[in-house]
């Protein structure tokens, strides 16, 4: 099976430039350097057509940065992203541009991604007209069909974003993404800001759309319950690196990486009764100054000397891959 989407060693670095005061201080002899964040560090994985791949990890670990690179909203620093075999990181190639339109992204906060001065009809219709999927004469019908697809009354076409609830705005964001007939959707925390009952409506909508429109998803979320529900496979990130990739059931039933194990241990669950909350000690370290070797070693109960020294390789057994020395010869 050839992958629909394939990432090979994709990295993204952000340089933090010194501000005026810091530059002055450096001229006066202070030891200040321009710092660099490895927001995403040599990420590789694939997504097959029709699959839902969940991307999880703590805040700041690089999920959105990765998603934005796949959506073509952010250039890569290194590596290649192939969509149906074509490298889409090449901004000048017409074929890459055409492929990139097949990939759409839906954001966490629909309010900040929807133009407040535009009516819903224009928000949804604009890109579709621009890309020739419909024309000025029939755009109104086109918008009505999309509203129906996302479960909204057509009367909403005449409203402005601020006249709608969070759940309704999220549906507009989805309708806008669907307007250009994408095959691949990146959902970045698309339901995080919604109430539970509205979350359920939107999750069901994603499932329906997947079936009806043959969509493939990269589903970014820090909510493990949601990811377990919706994803076929899960990619776990820690401080810019992918630490584990596995089918959802295998990952939730038998996580192999100590970080994934710790993460799953912390999820409050219904039906577990009164819980004694256990904790991974410490906080996620600063990405500006990540620990050497395995980034997780300061918090890892299994860490050994090798973990402080060598970056673990990702070892694949069957369809489950893990980047941890425990699974690659030990930590000594």
């Amino acid at each position: 099976m050839t992958a629909m989407l394939e990432l090979n060693g994709v990295s993204r670095r952000f340089e933090k430039k010194l501000d005026g005061v810091e530059r002055l201080a450096r001229r006066l002899g202070a030891d200040l350097r321009e710092t660099c964040v490895n927001a995403v560090d040599t990420a590789s994985f694939t997504v097959a057509r029709g699959e839902v791949v969940g991307l999880v990890g703590e805040s700041g670990c690089g999920k959105s940065t990765l998603g934005r690179m796949v959506a073509g909203l952010l250039p890569v620093s290194d590596g290649e992203i192939r969509f149906e075999g074509i490298d889409i990181t090449d901004a000048r190639s017409a074929r890459a541009r055409e492929k990139r339109l097949r990939i759409q992204m839906i954001f966490q906060d629909p309010m900040s991604s929807l133009n407040p001065r535009m009516k819903v009809a224009d928000i949804i219709g604009e890109a579709a007209v621009y890309h020739g999927l419909t024309n000025r004469q029939s755009v109104a019908d086109y918008v009505d069909q999309l509203l129906e697809k996302v479960g909204l009354d057509r009367a909403f076409a005449q409203r402005y974003p601020h006249q709608m609830s969070g759940g309704q705005r999220q549906r507009i964001g989805i309708a806008r993404a669907l307007a250009v007939k994408p095959e691949f959707l990146i959902c970045d925390e698309s339901i995080a800001a919604l109430d539970v009952s509205i979350q359920a409506q939107v999750i069901n909508l994603f499932q329906d759309l997947r079936r009806d429109l043959d969509l493939t998803y990269l589903f970014i979320s820090h909510d493990l319950g949601v990811v377990e529900h919706i994803a076929d496979r899960v990619v776990v990130m820690y401080l810019g690196r992918i630490v584990e990739v596995a089918p959802t059931e295998a990952l939730f039933d038998g996580p192999r990486h100590p970080y994934t194990q710790a993460l799953l241990d912390q999820v409050p669950r219904l039906g577990a009764g009164r819980q004694v909350f256990r904790t991974v000690k410490g906080e996620i370290p600063s990405p500006l100054n990540p620990p050497p070797g395995c980034h997780f070693h300061p918090r890892c109960p299994m860490a050994g000397p090798r973990c402080r020294r060598d970056v673990p390789r990702r070892i694949t057994e069957g369809d489950h891959s893990t980047a941890c020395h425990l699974h690659d010869g030990g930590t000594e």
Binding site: G225, E228, F252, Q266, P268, F277, T279
Partner: protein, 326 residues
């Protein structure tokens, strides 16, 4: 005697669009060391309930009815000065945004020492000592060094822990925590939950934990009250309510949570959305979204009924017909 006894609390906002009955007849009580989970969707009145207890409701809002008894004392009868001496001392609040508690321009040390000395005549050194112990307690590494820092030098999770430390500073009898972990990662959330849990057990502090996350309530709270449109629609021991919900809204909330063992299944949807609080229907506020609704529900609002010693339900057609139910 209970630490807190809230009876028929009513807090209304007098807005241009009409009167918003944000809290409309809420009752519950809490014993020492007990944890109450207050759950419901956004806008259901959870925060206003918390603010009302601390008398922090601002115009156009006003507590218009009911009693709040704290250790046998009706808080409504206290002067503003007496209330200030309770707040941050015997009763503390933790907000979703820690910057509601923290002052961005003051060092942590200054803020914590002041918070102790506002209520106790102790030396600066003794107050600082206490601050260090409490910071250590909530898991801040090398607390003595961190005292010199300003709030912006901490991560979000650390800031929330400092805010919690300030709430704990004077060993309160009651803490009202308003969604303090909602914006945090699971790892940080579970550290905070672990600390809070231990605290309630060890010091006998009673806790109101406001959240929209039923899974957190399941793991943390002794009892739960579910709010909808300003009213408690169901309450009882956590396990009872979550395993056998009686109210259609509670049932809907539980069904809408994705999680273990339900992979790929369709989630139960509660149709529609939260009601406009300025224009509630005449009968049951949940009627427009309820699958058990009939004419009775549309004609008048159900009252809360006891269905067992510790369980209350506000519904004409509850799901489990327990003895005593209407």
């Amino acid at each position: 005697m209970s630490v807190l006894d809230v009876r028929d609390l009513q807090t209304h906002f007098f807005t241009d669009a009409g009167v918003v009955k944000a809290v409309d007849g809420v009752s519950f009580s809490l014993d020492a060391g007990e944890v109450l989970g207050l759950v419901g969707e956004s806008g259901s009145g959870k925060s206003v309930t918390g603010f009302s207890i601390l008398r922090l409701v601002d115009a156009p809002g006003r507590v218009v009815g009911g009693q709040i008894n704290f250790k046998g004392q009706d808080l409504a009868t206290l002067s503003n000065r007496e209330m200030r001496s309770l707040r941050g001392n015997r009763i503390a609040m933790i907000f979703q945004d820690p910057m509601m508690t923290l002052n961005p321009v003051l060092r942590i040390e200054t803020q914590m020492v002041e918070a102790v000395r506002a209520h106790h005549r102790v030396s600066h050194a003794a107050a600082k000592d206490r601050a260090i112990r409490v910071l250590a307690r909530v898991g801040i590494p090398s607390p003595a060094d961190r005292l010199a820092a300003y709030p912006h030098q901490f991560s979000g999770g650390m800031r929330q822990r400092v805010a919690i430390a300030i709430a704990l500073l004077n060993g309160p009898d009651l803490i009202v925590a308003d969604e303090p972990t909602t914006a945090l990662d699971v790892t940080i959330q579970s550290q905070i939950l672990a600390e809070v849990q231990e605290l309630a057990r060890e010091t006998g502090t009673a806790l109101i934990w406001i959240t929209h996350d039923l899974a957190v309530v399941a793991g943390l709270a002794d009892k739960v009250s579910v709010m909808y449109a300003g009213r408690i629609v169901e309450s009882g021991p956590t396990d009872d309510v979550l395993t056998a919900p009686g109210h259609p809204y509670t049932e809907g909330l539980l069904g809408s949570i994705p999680g273990h063992g339900r992979r790929g299944e369709r989630l139960t949807q509660i149709p529609g959305m939260a009601p406009n609080m300025a224009r509630l229907p005449v009968g049951c506020a949940f009627a427009p979204r309820c699958h058990r609704v009939d004419e009775t529900c549309r004609a008048k609002a159900p009252a809360i009924t006891d269905i067992g010693p510790k369980r209350g339900l506000r519904c004409f057609h509850p799901i489990v017909e327990t003895e005593g139910a209407a």
